[in-house]
Point group: none
Chain length 405, copies 2
């Protein structure tokens, strides 16, 4: 295994630009009776041209056969070994509501739930209350629940019955069991910490839960909360520390903005549309080295099982990407974070098609002439772990000295 | 990760012969406007026939995206994990002047430099003195500098302002800082050891430097020396210990002869031309199991940016390799240690084309019918770490038992 210490000594800083265009859940499958994936069905003259001039390949986000969540898949894109740099569920949820975590924070996912008179859970999702109701209840809790000295808490609505809790203080551990019993007819578990610092956190959580139970007692069906996925926010080494890359993210959705922030990227204001994403890229092109540009809808339509709309989004991104030639980055990578075939209506384990284009002509060309899963199989990038793609992009941008003499 | 202990129990010794023909820096890129690499441009009927009868592939010397130096790249060819078996700079330089290191040696690279009256460096390369001057000064130092008991030193000219220092003694550590301040206007640093054994070495180095300053004081511009890359020579387990292969090297250039010696190969006398390389191979074919045959000029012309001459050298090696059929080795591997595209005028990160031919017909044939980067992409060897190729060669020579029952 190659670890960060090995390449740290090899880094060269120069003025080259590396652009990553990420279509979330890009990889796909043909629908029954068909023989082309979403990407192969889409008309993508611009991406095809980049693929023809550059090289193709297939990336395994985690490991062959593994279906990744968005968190680890993006870490792999950013060159972080996704199993080693594990992100706790609570932390991911906090990133997903655009919460700015600090190194003193422990985060957990909350569900509003229904309990009966004996305190047993009768509905783990409180009848899926509407998001507005969730917001009102969070507001009420924030107003009435006061924790004892030494800790601050933040409570934020996610959607429907889901919310995020963050505890902030010194010496708080995150190794705490879920209070969610995972089935109805049981009482929620008490929070317990596995070690001293986590026991400290658990005491604050107990205090929080006791008060919440009192505050919500008349708010049936949302008369209590369940917590799970407690996780301490570990600060990751930044892209700049690891690679010497001043990095910036252009992304519309909170989760991906949060993931970029997690690795120390500057995150530009939420762009309202593709046009504004282009403007942000152009206007910031001189100030950064690495550009993470995230397009979400390919994944959303994949999750919906909507093959045709996923195709259309790919075609829009294709059109968008034509203009990248104006900026002439040293290296352009176009890929996804994982596959989300409309056939499966979910993330999947299939490797993700990728293209790498070098304006300097340093990518050793292959026979790939169209950007698609089958063609990429014959590409010069080969099939490799996703975490390698950033290193190869840096090599093509001449950002590494040689290893040994 | 596969380590030596796993295969050690599986080794079979037999009379099979494994020949590695290594063209240094073989991998390439097309020049602007072209679409063929150096190897693809070369007329190579003999290598093409081996490729057609055997299998092709692409090898990553260190890791995708990493540009290797000659040292780690050759270790990978010899099956050693190149990051784990790290060779210090000083040791590599000593190998490069054909110095025979022992396990009691610490080596460093020296530069003759210019210092002013205050002892500050004014030219880190002493005006790049000619090699003859360097030799005279080394001779003078050897004559006049005498170290105290417990250590021997060896001083050898490399070229221009560069030389190599080796200290030999018991219990000498190699963890010593560079004395080279890396910029002019500063005094050289004093050598300091990081641990007890290195402190011992550092004291001898100080003694050496003090005397050298006195000896060279009238030799402006080369009136002092700077040292860097101190490294203890760690003796590596030999090819025979690791693989049960009696191994021999046929190579013209000192660095590669040194690298072969580092892994315990017998190194035959410097052959004056291709014809003598052939004779050495033929005459020694019965006495050894593994043959490392190194051709240097592919790399040299790559470094010069001379595409045409690199093509010509490949064509000469192709012609040379036709005769290998007379010897009928069980396994022939033809590849490089890394890529040196004339386009880049330097080593590069691109994977290296490789062919493996088995006279027994045990390589599972593929569609590769010409030896070149694009064809090798479709080969049965796939794309893999370079350190695997020796194991696969041994397998084809039936030198491994099965693993498990």
């Amino acid at each position: 295994m190659m670890n960060a210490e090995v390449w740290k000594d090899l880094i060269i800083k120069n003025n080259s630009k590396i652009v990553f265009v990420i279509m979330d859940g890009l990889g796909g499958l043909p629908m029954p009776g068909g023989d082309k994936t979403e990407l192969e069905t889409a008309r993508t003259p611009n991406l095809d041209r980049y693929a023809k001039e550059g090289i193709g390949g297939l990336l395994d986000p985690i490991y062959p056969g593994f279906t990744p969540g968005s968190g680890p898949a993006h870490l792999a894109l950013f060159g972080y070994e996704p199993v080693e740099f594990n992100i706790g569920r609570g932390v991911l949820s906090a990133l997903g509501v655009d919460f700015e975590l600090t190194g003193r924070d422990v985060a957990a996912r909350l569900n509003f739930c229904t309990i009966d008179k004996e305190g047993k859970v009768t509905d783990r999702r409180a009848g899926r209350i509407p998001t507005e109701k969730n917001e009102q209840l969070c507001e009420k809790i924030r107003r009435e629940v006061k924790l004892s000295a030494g800790v601050e808490y933040f409570l934020q609505t996610e959607s429907e019955h889901r919310a995020v809790l963050v505890l902030r203080g010194d010496g708080l551990g995150g190794d705490i069991n879920d209070t969610d019993p995972q089935e109805t007819g049981k009482k929620p578990f008490d929070p317990k910490g596995e070690d001293d610092t986590s026991q400290k956190t658990a005491r604050y959580v107990s205090e929080f839960l006791t008060q919440v139970k009192e505050v919500l007692k008349k708010d049936h069906p949302a008369n209590f909360i369940l917590a799970r996925g407690f996780a301490k926010h570990e600060e990751f080494p930044s892209m700049e520390q690891r690679y010497g890359l001043r990095s910036v993210a252009i992304a519309q959705y909170p989760m991906y903005r949060g993931l970029a922030r997690l690795v120390g990227m500057t995150v530009l204001p939420v762009p309202k549309d593709f046009e504004e994403m282009w403007k942000q890229l152009k206007d910031n092109f001189d100030q950064y080295d690495f550009f993470f540009i995230h397009f979400k809808k390919t994944d959303s339509y994949g999750e919906d099982g909507n093959f045709e709309n996923k195709v259309k989004v790919i075609e829009s991104v294709d059109e968008w990407s034509a203009r990248l030639r104006e900026l002439n980055p040293e290296v352009l990578v176009v890929t996804g974070d994982h596959s989300t075939p409309a056939l499966l209506k979910s993330h999947s384990w299939h490797p993700v098609p990728a293209l790498l284009w070098s304006s300097r002509g340093y990518a050793r060309r292959d026979a790939v002439s169209k950007f698609g899963e089958s063609e990429c199989l014959r590409g010069n990038l080969g099939r490799m772990p996703m975490k390698n793609i950033l290193l190869i992009a840096m090599a093509n941008a001449e950002r590494f000295k040689k290893f040994g003499a």
